[in-house]
Symmetry: C2
Subunit: 188 residues, 2 copies
DNA sequence: CCTTAACCGGAGGGTGCCTCCGCTACGATA
DNA sequence: TATCGTAGCGGAGGCACCCTCCGGTTAAGG
């Protein structure tokens, strides 16, 4: 957003940036992640060139749009670790993850990149979600509901997989989640 | 392929159909599921119009290409049920599922449609895979390695989710699969 | 052979992607 | 408040791909 280390963005640039983000968010939600970028530019009242200057690729725009969502998800993770007793935080967090998947169209594709790739673009997001998931996972291990050898990457990949699996059948999410949680439990 | 109930396809039509299928298979494998259809038509030595006549949509072509793969997967399911002892068939089958996911680029998108949708286009595939998965699942339940209330849909969705999750980290597939299997086991 | 309808193929119109560069206006400076 | 250097704007234009349509071609039955 700010041109790192240099003078801040000009007022019009900042205004356009925000408008683009707002309209992109609406557009992704209403029309899916494949909505034409030219439509987003138009509804933001800027030229297509301006969109491309701020967001060189579609993925860059998605990342920017969903960074907020990722932040929310991270915040929720820490809240749950604080408020919930014992092993309740993990199921609750994974549940919100799948809920995001059903509601925010296109978010999962972005999440996949965030989890898989370690590009410059995503490394901030990557670290944040990794840390948040780590906190929830640690709490679950402390409570004894997850075996110690499960890694944060494992958890994120499984959660992502679950979200993809239940994206179009949210009513099945709880049952599938409970199978998954049973699998992570220390085995007798 | 044959114009149901009517006279068979003309020789040239049948030849072109097969060429298209062969080239599409290669192209999907080499360049991913988003490869331009015009490239496929060109390498099959036919016009783009011919491709569209045989396969009205990209998904129709993918379905045709991957129907073979789905068949293989189904065959393997029955073989495993025959040859493997007790609860070994299910893990082995799920493992081959994830292997397909890493090797056949684009297959998973098609599988998702097959599992989720119940369109005319997919209903044959849908039924086949459903039945094959049912056989493996039944064997596992008999062997006592999966609890009785797990449905075929549950199994397919979880397996699909797992495949998506491990698509780019095949080396983690076995560990994640074992978590999943533990989750399906009758809980003590 | 002749006929005919099934089949072919690619031109062409449409949509969206992305770049490039002449123009605009922000805001620093005096 | 006027001036000026430049960050930022925006859309024309070239490209890639999609998909349809229809005049020409040819397999195959009589």
């Amino acid at each position: 957003m700010t041109t790192a280390g240099q003078r801040p963005m000009r007022a019009d640039a900042r205004r356009n940036y925000k408008r683009l983000l707002t309209e992109a968010k609406r557009a992704f939600l209403e029309h899916g992640a494949e909505v034409p970028l030219e439509d987003i530019a138009r509804s933001a009242g800027v030229g297509i060139g301006t969109l491309y200057r701020h967001f060189p690729t579609r993925l860059a725009l998605q990342e920017a749009v969903y960074h907020e969502e990722v932040d929310e998800l991270c915040t929720k993770a820490y809240e749950l670790v604080e408020s919930e007793s014992g092993g309740e935080a993990l199921p609750a967090w994974m549940r919100s993850f799948t809920t995001y998947a059903t509601n925010k169209r296109g978010l999962m594709q972005t999440m996949k990149e965030v989890i898989d790739r370690r590009s410059d673009l995503f490394s901030r997001c990557h670290d944040e979600i990794q840390e948040a998931a780590g906190a929830v996972l640690a709490a679950a291990k402390d409570a004894g509901t997850v075996r110690p050898e499960v890694s944060v990457s494992d958890l994120l990949r499984l959660t992502h997989g679950l979200s993809v699996a239940t994206q179009h059948v949210p009513e099945d999410a709880d049952r599938l989640l409970s199978y998954l949680l049973d699998g992570l439990r220390p085995q007798g």
